[in-house]
Symmetry: C2
Subunit: 155 residues, 2 copies
DNA sequence: CTTGCTGCAAAAGTTTTGCACACGT
DNA sequence: ACGTGTGCAAAACTTTTGCAGCAAG
């Protein structure tokens, strides 16, 4: 990839194969555009949005339409490769999930800083709650809002 | 209120006062429209969206514009009375938080059924994670996706 | 070849904003 | 009176869709 991100080729190949298999199973096609989009998604380290993908692909000289990105992202989500993450409600954000520990987010409302974290105890609680309701947890989203000590006291 | 919801008057009065205080502190005004919106919000038992409020207010004979609802909702969120909850990313959903235990959601992806739950252990984890990063948790959103046993096995 | 895919532009849907007038404080 | 609020309609933004030509299996 053109940018400095860790475009981990070790993960590109297997994911490419997984995506192809997913598509074939549904009678869908693996196109150059879809390959490019997957490649760009893999170059992203954290959370991203559609406009970012579009921008980076244009930077790298690929010409893919926004409509195609939207259409492909839906498939990537269904294939279990990426996940929709909700940070603000106006715009959809996504992150890679395949081969990664699920990352959750701690948002500092004072600084708008976003800290990623993973916590095993959280997964346990998640699985327990799902089981209590007769379900099996397959994913989750967890977002914590925090303030730094000072502002917590004021007002 | 006109509908069958539990329009708990025991909670309306104090919240009205809280909202007035919040507005005054910021040099904002308490108008009839804002009172109506707060009242309608309190009549909602779970998650709601702006169009729902608009519809119910019109049903009840109140005429408030969508723009005003959007503007007021921002203040209600800042006042800590309601919270934005994200179920799907296209549209903002809100729920009352004042005087309630924070409710989280377990979504069954097979049936689209949504189960509300509250779990104290989750709050502990939340507070611990925030503290680990030097912050104080003031809120959160937790959404679990689950499948029922059968579908978990297939594919 | 058949079926799905792409780009474009238009459409759809939610949220925001500019403006003139009305209303709390 | 002053400074906000309100409704309306238009704007802004993200996402979806219809269509004609193109490409994968």
């Amino acid at each position: 990839m053109a940018d400095g991100q860790s475009s981990d080729n070790a993960i590109l190949e297997p994911l490419c194969a997984i995506f192809r298999r997913f598509l074939k199973k549904r009678g869908l096609k693996f196109t150059a555009e879809r390959a490019t989009i997957l490649d760009t998604v893999l170059s992203k380290d954290g959370v991203f949005e559609v406009d970012e993908l579009l921008f980076e692909m244009h930077q790298a000289g690929y010409r893919v339409s926004k409509a195609t990105i939207y259409r492909t992202i839906k498939h990537l989500v269904e294939a279990g490769i990426i996940q929709e993450v909700l940070l603000d409600s106006r715009q959809a954000h996504y992150q890679l999930i395949y081969g990664r520990k699920p990352m959750d987010h701690l948002v500092c409302v004072d600084s708008d800083e976003i800290i990623e974290f993973h916590d095993d105890a959280l997964i346990e609680i998640r699985d327990r709650i799902a089981k209590q309701h007769g379900l099996t947890a397959v994913g989750h989203r967890f977002l914590i809002y925090g303030v730094n000590g000072k502002s917590a006291a004021k007002e």
